[in-house]
Amino acid sequence: MDPVSTHTGIGVPLRVSNVDTDQIIPAVYLKRVTRTGFEDGLFSAWKNDPSFVLNNEPFSRGSVLVAGADFGTGSSREHAVWALMDYGFRVVISSRFADIFRGNSSKGGLVAAEVAQPDVELLWKLLENEPGTEVTVDLREKTVQAKDITVPFEIDDYARWRLLEGLDDIGLTLRHADAIDAFEATRPSRMPTTTG
C-alpha cells in the first residue's frame, strides 16, 4: 500500500445518502479471481441513468467522491473499497461512514474523510457550479481544500497513521521483518521444504 499524505483530484458531488455497498458494487460482480477490475461494477445500477454524475465529463475523471451521509452501509464486502479504488477514487468524503466500510477503507488505502454536513453542502455547491474543480485532501493537517474553501475532516488516529505510513496488515507485520529474519535463522536445517 502506498503512503498517502495529500491527494489532489477532481471532486465528484454525489447528492445521495445511505449509499450501501450493494449499490457501490452488486453481488453479481464478486465472482472474479482478481482483486482488481471491479471498476465496471461500481454503481452499476445507476450507470444506465445518463444524468448520473459519473456518466458526465469531467466528473468521470474524478478521484474525490463527496457523498451524502451514511456511506458504505450494508454488506461487509471489501470489493466496495476495491471498486472505488479501481475506478480511480482515492478519497471519499461523507458526514458519516458505516463502521465496516471505514475499516475496509484503511485496509485498502482509501481515505474515508468525515466532514460536517454543512461543509459537505458547501463542497457540493462549489463542485456543481464549477465542474472539474480540484479538491485537495491533506491527511497531515486533516483538511479538505477546494478553491477558497478549506474545511476540517475527522479520521481515527490509527487509520490515519496506517494511511500516512502506507501500512496494510501485511505492512504492519513486515515492520517486524527483523524478528522474522531472526526466527528463520534459528530454524533447524532438518525442517521440511517443498523444493529441491
Binding site: 500500500m1 465472482k31 472474479r32 479471481v33 482478481t34 482483486r35 482488481t36 496494510d168 496488515d169 501485511i170 507485520t173 513486515l174 517486524h176 524478528a179 522474522i180 526466527f183 528463520e184 530454524r187 533447524p188 536445517s189 532438518r190 525442517m191 521440511p192 521444504t193 517443498t194 523444493t195 529441491g196
Partner: protein
Amino acid sequence: MSTTGRTLAEKVWDQHLVRKGEGQEPDLLYIDLHLVHEVTSPQAFDGLRLAGRPVRRTDLTIATEDHNVPTLDVLAPIADEVSRTQVDTLRRNCEEFGVELYPMNHAEQGIVHVVGPQLGLTQPGTTVVCGDSHTSTHGAFGAMAFGIGTSEVEHVLATQTLPLKAFKTMAINVNSSDGTLRPGVTSKDVVLAIIAQIGTGGGQGHVLEYRGNVIDNLSMEARMTICNMSIEAGARAGMIAPDETTFAYLKGRDRAPQGDQWDSAVTAWRELRTDDDASFDRTVDIDGDALTPFVTWGTNPGQGLPLAGNVPDPAAIADEGEAAATRKSLDYMGLTAGTPLREVGVDAVFVGSCTNGRIEDLRSVAEILDGRQVAKGVRMLVVPGSMRVRFQAEDEGLDKVFTGAGAEWRSAGCSMCLGMNPDQLAPGERCASTSNRNFEGRQGKGGRTHLVSPLVAAATAVRGTLSSPEDLD
C-alpha cells in the same frame, strides 16, 4: 495458559513465536508449511502483485489443484468456465511467483490434505496452514494446523507468519478396555460420536488434543480422519501427539528428514507430548467400548446417531429450538421420525474426500465389495484422494474390485464432497458419503447427505439402505 507443564499445542505455539503481542495485539507465529489450492488463492496472489511483494518462502509453499477438478475425462480442458478460470489462474500465479504446483494429471496431484502427509511434508511440531478449513487434518502428526481466509493466505505468502490470538485447550480422551474398537467401528465413527456429543460449536476457540489408548492404537490415516473433522466441532485445530506410529509413517518419505537429520528429528519429536502436570481448559471422555457404527441423519455433522438407532422424533425433544431445528433437518432430508436408520434407502454412495480418501479407506471398501455387487439403482463413486492413492490402489487391484462390483473408479480430487466439479447429487437424491459435511446442498442443490465411515459406505452400497458390514451375508 499454564505456567508449569505445557500441553502439546502450547509447546508447538511457543516454538513458533516470532513476536509476543503487546497488550491487545495478537502473537506473531511462524508458519512452516503453506498449502495452496485454486479456490482461495487468486485474490491473495493478486494482492501481492498489486503491492509488488514476492512470496517470501517459495520453499515452504506448495500448490495443488483439487476443489474444482473433474474426476472424469481429466485430459480434456475443464468444461466449466469458472472452474477452468480458477485452475488456469493458479497455474499462472504459481509460475509468476515461483511456487511449486502439482497440476491435474501430475503424479503428485490430489487433495491438498492428502498430498502434504504422503510427501512427508507434514511433520510433528510444525505449523501448517491452508485456505481450507480441513487443514486440521495435519494435526494427526502433532502439527498445529488450521484453515485460513484469503487475506490471511496473502499474509502468509508475503511474510511466512500469521498474527494469531491465544487459544484454549481441550483434551478428548478416547479409551476402551483393551484399546481397540469393536469390529466394524472406525475412527470416522469415533469422530462422528465426538461431534454428536460436544456439538458443532463445542470446540469453539479450542485446540483439541485427542488422547487415550484407542487413539494410540490407530494408524496415521485413521488419526487423520479424526483430526480432519475437528473443524466440524468448531475447533481451531485438532492434534495427536506423535509416537512410533507417526515416525514409522514418515520414515523414508520424500520430504522427511534423511540420515543423521532423521535421528535428530525423532529426538525433538519425542518431546512433543503434553506434560504430565499440564492442564487443559476442558476435558471430554469418550467410552470406546460403547462405540458402534455412526451415521448422521440431519443437516449438520452434529446430528448423528448410532446406525442401530431410529430417526429422531422432534415431538420427543423438550428444547423448543432443538425440536424446530430437528424438524427442519428432517424436512430437508425427507425422513420420517421413528424410521430405523437401517431402513433408509440411498441413491448414491460416495467414497473419497480429505476425510476418507486414503489407501486404507479404499482397501476397507474393497474388502467389503470383493465378490459382491452394488445394489440395483445405487450409483457408487470411488474417488481417490490423490494420484498416488489412485496408482497404489491400481497396483493392489482395488480398482478392479470397485468396477467389478459396479462402482465408478475416478481420478483424484475433492469431487462430490462439495460438488464444485460435475460430481453432484441431483435434487432429492440421497447419498451415504464418507466426506465431512452434510450441509443442505453441499453435494449438489437439494442433495441429501448421510455422513458415514468407509465400511458403512461399502455395506450401504451393497444393500441399498444404510448398513454396516455385519448386516451383510
